[in-house]
């Protein structure tokens, strides 16, 4: 399908690298804005009496939200390329329009959610809106621009049949799914509930008691980005980068074999390798960390609740 194998491999590597940047920026953006599932705790805290100064960007789950941002960026880029604008410039304009829409959605979500919490005495802090929205927009720009550039490479250099906007939709949803799956637990448990025990889940009774104060002063959502960009962001980037890289790599390299079945077999082998790695991680954790309660280990029936 791709005439020049060397070019194909180079494009694959570049697309994987762009995807890695996109994943890292996406997760950092969603953590700064408290989008996705950890948002439920930001929403819950005032109801439990914990007034906070955390951004509440409840646009929707990350997958549909990024499905829109990336599809929109790709669509605008496509439209400008259709009227003969330079491709790179078109991609930048597309990402800029998408970021504008993202920023507006972020502000309406914060205002809406917070104003609806008036009963619990949670005020609207408009300085949060001014300082945090712009930071999420900057991260979103990086995520959108890299994703739609990657999609453009797939169309222009690898010859995927889907038009650019449809690829933006497909990979945007996949980006949101990968980023939220990998990044959410780290932000939700490790950061929002930093005061809870390390190495254990947050007890359901502690729900809503999120950390609201910082080392000095009050915790801002920007601190959350600072924290999660150390692990959750890069891990999400790795996740999305691996997905894109292996998806392209197995096709570009192995599709010529066995009438296309080579790519399928390569994919199955990669899945099995990841399965073994996952099993290794799981058993490593069990043996290294050990059980929480020795008594329960002897009599598992009693521990079941």
């Amino acid at each position: 399908m791709v005439e020049n194998l060397v070019l194909g491999i180079g494009v694959t590597a570049l697309a994987g690298a762009l995807a890695t940047v996109a994943g890292a920026a996406e997760d950092t953006e969603s953590d700064i804005g408290s989008q996705g599932d950890p948002n439920s705790q930001v929403q819950l805290a005032p109801q439990m009496g914990y007034i906070h100064r955390i951004f509440n960007k409840a646009v929707s789950g990350e997958p549909p939200a990024y499905g829109l941002w990336c599809a929109l960026g790709a669509g605008v880029a496509w439209a400008f390329m259709a009227i003969n604008l330079n491709a790179i410039l078109a991609l930048i304009v597309g990402a800029a329009v998408a970021v504008f829409v993202q920023g507006v959605y972020a502000t309406t979500a914060y205002l809406g959610r917070t104003a609806s919490l008036a009963k619990f005495e949670q005020p609207v802090y408009i300085d949060i809106l001014k300082s945090v929205t712009t930071v999420t927009m900057a991260h979103a720009f990086v995520a959108i621009f890299t994703t739609i550039s990657m999609c453009y490479l797939m169309v222009a250099a690898l010859g995927h049949p889907f038009p650019l906007p449809l690829l933006g939709l497909v990979w945007g949803i996949a980006l949101g799914a990968a980023g939220s799956a990998t990044g959410n637990p780290f932000y939700g448990k490790e950061r929002q509930y930093q005061e809870q025990k390390f190495g254990a889940g947050v007890p359901i009774s502690a729900s809503g008691n999120i950390v609201r104060y910082a080392e000095a002063g009050e915790r801002s959502s920007l601190d959350n980005g600072w924290f999660t960009s150390k692990l959750a962001g890069p891990a999400s980037g790795l996740c999305f980068g691996l997905i894109v890289f292996f998806e392209l790599w197995r096709t570009v390299l192995f599709e010529p074999f066995a009438g296309g079945w080579g790519a399928v077999i390569a994919g199955v082998v990669v899945i099995l390798i990841f399965m073994v790695i996952d099993r290794f991680i799981e058993t490593w954790a069990r043996t290294t960390f050990g059980p929480y309660t020795e008594a329960a280990a002897a009599e598992p029936e009693e521990a079941t609740s």
Binding site: G36, D37, N39, S40, Q41, S60, G61, E62, P63, P161, F162, P163, L166, L169, V170, W171, I173, A177, A178, A181, T182, N184, P185, Y187, G188, K189, E190, G199, A200, P203, I204, L231, A232, A235, C239, I243, E247, R250, T251, E255, G260, W261, A263, V264, I271, F274, M275, D278, I281, E282, A285, R286, F289, P291, Y292, A296, A297, P300, A303, T304
Partner: protein, 277 residues
């Protein structure tokens, strides 16, 4: 997905009358398609129905914990079920559409592997974060023993939670779910693409190469639309969260297969009518 959970009314068991009515609707849709688009259309619609049923079945395998999973309060992946399945299924559709010109079977294989690969990597990274980032081992809340590996869970479940992480059975469920989703989505796409590639050049009197983008786009957007309809219907069936194939909610899958098959039959009929009328 969002902060919403809430107790849903979804009861157990199959409603026999409604299911029979559903199957009648399916047969009527099939009959109408046969009438207006002859045998070729009807065979394509059967493919679409199977694809939809595969998506509905596949979503049940995907371990999704929703908001509690983000706090390590419940096992599974911390996002919405419909959207995670869509992420995997559409990644599969990407692979399947790419391989579409190599033949029916290869395209289906590529779609299935694409979806499975996406879930295999995502689920592994979830465990990487849980274990190396948060120091939490995997434990299921619904069963005491992993049906595959035989690991016991109660002693690895931290206090006050319903379990956390992705036990191996959930991991395998995720991969199966992604595979079935990718397979189903690609099946819908390939069937529709064949219908449009055959019909559009005749209707608009244009060579296939010129009108191919329209056929690809139409088949692609319909596949995405039907995927989302089936995934959301299934999400309604499992009311939000599920741990994987070992979860008691998994037993609800027959009615989701009926619902997805009927929904795909009706949507597929309409999609075929776009070029048959």
């Amino acid at each position: 997905m969002s902060a919403l959970g809430g107790a849903a009314a979804g009861g157990e068991g199959i409603n026999p009358t409604a299911s029979v009515i559903g199957i009648v609707i399916l047969l009527v849709a099939l009959g109408i398609t046969f009438f207006i688009a002859s045998t070729g259309g009807a065979i394509a619609l059967i493919g679409i129905i199977i694809g939809g049923a595969l998506i509905g079945f596949g979503v049940h395998f995907v371990p999704v914990g929703g908001a509690p999973a983000a706090m390590g309060q419940a096992p599974g992946i911390a996002t919405g079920v419909a959207m995670l399945a869509a992420g995997a299924g559409l990644a599969g559709l990407f692979g399947g559409a790419w391989a579409a010109e190599l033949g029916f079977a290869v395209a289906l294989g590529a779609g299935a592997v694409g979806g499975g690969l996406m879930m295999a990597i995502t689920c592994m990274m979830v465990n990487v974060i849980y274990v190396f980032g948060m120091g939490i081992p995997s434990a299921s809340g619904k069963v005491d023993k992993d049906p595959i590996t035989g690991d016991t869970f109660p002693e690895y479940k931290s206090q006050g939670t319903e379990g956390h992480g992705l036990p191996f059975i959930s991991y395998v469920g995720g991969v199966i779910g992604g595979t079935l989703g990718g397979l189903g989505g690609t099946l819908i796409y390939v069937e529709l693409l064949a219908v449009y590639e055959a019909a559009l050049p005749v209707i608009y009197n244009a060579p296939l190469e010129e009108i191919l983008p329209v056929a690809v786009s139409l088949a692609g957007i319909f596949a995405v639309g039907m995927f989302l309809v089936n995934a959301v219907l299934t999400a309604y069936n499992i009311t939000g969260t599920i741990e994987g194939p070992h979860d008691p909610k998994f037993k609800r899958f027959p009615r989701a297969i009926i619902a997805s098959a009927v929904a795909s039959a009706v949507c597929g009929m309409v999609a075929i009518m776009v070029v048959a009328l």
